[in-house]
């Protein structure tokens, strides 16, 4: 997992994506721009964050889950 470390915590790039989602939903393109990460990394990372229950996908956009929101407080 590139965005979630083996201890279940988000990595630096995972945290950047979570912070970019704070208080809003965003497309992978928007999150890539906000987080300053390559789009391919963000597409893959958001998939991982959603699988880990830290983000939720709605159509083409993502938003923080309750669990994800707690992590970046």
């Amino acid at each position: 997992m590139a965005c979630i470390s083996p201890d279940g915590k988000p990595t630096e790039s995972g945290s950047k994506m979570l912070r970019a989602l704070k208080g809003r939903s965003g497309s992978p393109e928007e999150i890539a721009k906000e987080a300053g990460l390559p789009l391919f990394r963000v597409r893959s990372g958001l998939r991982e964050l959603a699988e880990a229950g830290l983000a939720k996908q709605k159509d083409d956009s993502y938003e923080l889950s309750e669990e994800g929101a707690k992590l970046i407080k």
Binding site: M1, A2, C3, P38, L39, F40, R41, S44
Partner: protein, 216 residues
Amino acid sequence: MEEVKEQIGNMPRIGEPAPAFEAVTTHGVLKLEDFKGSWLILFSHPADFTPVCTTEFIAFSEIHPELQKRGVELLGLSVDSVSSHIAWVRNVEEKTKVKIPFPIIADLNKEVSMDYGMIHPGQSKTETVRCVFIIDPNQIIRTILYYPLTTGRNMDEILRIIDALQTTDKNAVATPANWRPGDMVVVPPPNTQEMAEERLKQGYECTDWYLCKKKL
């Protein structure tokens, strides 16, 4: 061996959609579709911790900023494990101070290598040869290069091909032999006699009706 022979008959071709994949890489699990909207250079190398491959990885890293300016991502591949890739990348950085900024597929089960025809049994039954697949933002294969195990790739040529493909797409022209950005481009040949006659009056630099060049 039979499986390898079967796959050789089914190699990807220019103009066809790039075979989809989902693969473990040094940057996590990546799918081909993650690169949609960007140009992608998917390239294979025979093995980690080998001399020619190391020079190539340094060279790919050196052209990475130029590729980024052109909207191109890089993705390496070999049949080594992700741990081997990580160790090699760290070693390259430690010994040469060059950071490898792009992901590398760990294709241990050879799934991607087989789909892309990267194993040429005449060269090696276990390692991938030096392939370069240039894939456009719509995920169509636009260029395929194969180099033998003993010959390192030419980064200038890879950049030149990217420039040529992007110029072609933007301006509906072709590029002549040894073309470089800024050189004259080739106007597509006319399809009718009338167009051929008109072509000669359009101010292009024409050798004859079928070979006309223009400045962009």
